[in-house]
């Protein structure tokens, strides 16, 4: 019975990873660059190559502010394919989706954050060729992707996870696990995170087992302090996978340090309160990025 509860939780975690198919809104972007390797790996890349990114550019001269999507999937599943780029393109934003190596494919943390940082570094380096404004970059992610986006925002310039130093200017975090430490993060005993047999513990941790020290090292909460760029955090009060309590604590710490945090306490009637992505959240994110990054091409 317990196992079944874990499986349901895991399934819920991955539900939002599969967000491909037809473009939402039916508008195709003006230029698309798919499967671009952000490493020095030789040879062509394909959709299955994790260390690659997709780039969707709006029509116009640019330079465009850039929104970087980090996919979810519990660090173990999911891929970078998206269908919502046109929504941001129409609002004047370039969109990049960065893939990263997955824990289930033999790459424990911090491979995921290293790759996300390398992807953003590539985008900054090649911004000119692709009409991107490297000084107006927003991050957006859901679930594990929001965790990675939060780490990029908080640690991109600290050298904690990569020798490459990258700055992002704002972030939208949807249902983010910001604290992976079991007690500090208030994870319920029924959570997949608390199950020693769950891939979160066996694949995320390099030693193959939960390690408090490593969980703290891997948690955005650890790095909250003054000087964080603006954040919009959306978390549903009934999220049964990632407890809202850890986000509330994160927001409290960030605000106490003087950071600019908008906290959207989601109370909608949702079948799965972890899978919160919706048209209204896209609109909210666009309004937030417009305010923090500026919308139109400069």
């Amino acid at each position: 019975m317990k196992n079944r509860i874990f499986l349901v939780c895991i399934a819920a975690f991955f539900l939002t990873a599969a967000a491909q198919a037809e473009p939402v809104g039916g508008v195709k972007p003006a230029a698309v660059l798919l499967n671009q390797s952000y490493t020095d790996a030789p040879g062509p890349t394909g959709p299955g190559d994790r260390q690659a990114l997709d780039l969707y550019l709006p029509e116009g001269e640019g330079p465009f502010p850039l929104i970087v999507w980090i996919h979810g999937g519990g660090w173990q599943l999911g891929d970078r394919r998206i269908n919502f780029a046109p929504i941001f393109n129409r609002a004047g934003f370039a969109v990049a989706s960065i893939g990263y190596r997955l824990t289930k494919e033999g790459h424990p943390f911090p491979a995921q954050i290293e790759d996300c940082i390398a992807g953003l570094a590539w985008l900054k380096k090649h911004a000119g060729e692709h009409r991107i404004d490297p000084d107006r970059v927003g991050l957006i992610g859901h679930s594990a992707g929001a965790h990675l986006a939060a780490l990029m925002l908080a640690c991109g310039q600290s050298g904690i996870f990569s020798r490459q130093l990258v700055r992002a200017d704002a972030a939208v975090l949807w249902s983010p696990p910001v604290d992976l430490a079991l007690a500090r993060g208030r994870w319920p005993a029924t959570s997949a995170f608390s199950n020693p047999r769950d891939p979160f513990q066996t694949k995320f941790f390099p030693t193959g087992a939960y390690d408090e020290r490593f969980a703290i090292y891997a948690s955005p909460t650890t790095y909250v302090g003054a000087g964080l760029p603006p954040m919009l955090i959306v978390h549903h009060e009934r999220d049964t996978l990632v407890p809202i309590g850890q986000t509330e604590e994160f927001v409290k710490l960030a605000r106490a340090a003087g950071d600019d945090v908008v906290f959207h306490h989601d109370t909608r009637d949702l079948k799965n309160p972890h899978a919160i992505i919706s048209a209204e959240l896209y609109d909210e994110a666009i309004a937030f990025f417009r305010q923090k990054l500026g919308a139109a091409a400069k």
């Binding site: 290293e114 600290s158 904690i160 990569s162 020798r163 490459q164 030693t207 090292y217």
Partner: protein
């Protein structure tokens, strides 16, 4: 005492003769203290790190077997004269070994006003370059310090164990041996004493070996992980690990022992019941001095 230790995969049990030899060494140490020569320069003038030489009492006729001690501290902190390293050096020098305890390049960090830490300089590969330089410095100056250049062991705890083992297993690795000074001196060691370290950086220590790109990081994790180099010819290794280590899990050392066994290498594995991370030879209930001196006696 030995019966307090859980000894797994031990290829040779300690002989009565060796224990008697150790007892006679102890009786000498009770009366004569080592002479310590502090802060000897072994790196280029631009570098501030130094080494200490612990000379055994003059009653030990030279040239002597020698141990290079590399301190721990997560590749970021620690010192050649920390309590553990002083305990190692003092114990071994009293038993007739020349001991070199070194400082080497550490990770440079900066504490920000908000309490966060920024890494300014990664320690790799300068840390192993310094350790290799120290080994060759010892050989170059063997006559000065009564060192037998054919009998040198390397030893360390925690991050120091990682570096000690890396130095020990890469004696023939041109890629790492080209780092540092005194090229031309041998890079070989006779055996390795490894206290609760990590031989697989993918499982512990990853964050101190970043490259400029994910590919470079993968490359670093390969060439900086001692387990990469394990063969039947790996110098004899003494592994000591606390069963209650909450910093570096004991499973890493159990797996290292399994890897050494599979490769046909020579090793002893000593798991200390109840011991946490970081202890020296005075671990209560465990005669680690005898264990280490017996191991060195057999392989050095």
């Amino acid at each position: 005492m030995l019966h307090h230790l859980v000894i797994k995969h031990v290829r040779r049990l300690f002989g009565v003769a060796a224990i008697c030899a150790f007892a006679s060494a102890l009786s000498v140490s009770a009366t004569e203290a080592p002479v310590v020569i502090r802060d000897v320069a072994y790196l280029p003038a631009s570098r501030s790190e130094k080494l200490d030489v612990w000379l055994p009492p003059a009653s030990f006729a030279g040239p002597r077997p020698t141990v290079l001690v590399i301190h721990g501290g997560g590749w970021a902190v620690g010192d050649k004269a920390d309590p553990r390293e002083r305990n190692f050096a003092d114990t071994l020098a009293r038993a007739g070994y020349v001991v070199f305890s070194i400082n080497y390049f550490l990770e440079k960090t900066e504490k920000l006003e908000n309490g966060r830490v920024r890494i300014l300089e990664m320690p790799w590969p300068q840390n192993v370059a310094d350790c290799k330089t120290a080994l060759r410095f010892i050989r170059k100056n063997a006559a000065t310090y009564r060192v037998d250049p054919a009998r040198i062991a390397v030893m360390g705890g925690s991050a120091g164990a990682h570096l000690a083992m890396l130095v020990g297993v890469t004696g023939n690795d041109d890629n790492l041996n080209r780092l540092g000074d005194y090229a031309g001196q041998s890079n070989q060691v006779s055996c390795i004493v490894y206290f609760y370290g990590t031989a697989d950086l993918r499982r512990f220590g990853h964050e101190h070996f970043h490259g400029a790109t994910p590919q470079e990081t993968e490359h670093n994790l390969d060439i900086a992980s001692p387990r990469t180099y394990i063969t039947a010819k790996t110098p004899p290794l003494l592994i000591v690990h606390g069963a209650n280590d909450t910093t570096i899990p004991v499973a890493l050392s159990r797996d290292l022992a399994a890897d050494l066994k599979a490769a046909g290498a020579t090793y002893d594995y000593v798991e200390v019941p109840g011991a946490p991370h970081s202890f020296d030879l005075r671990q209560p209930g465990a005669d680690l001095t005898g264990t280490v001196l017996t191991f060195l006696g057999e392989h050095l």
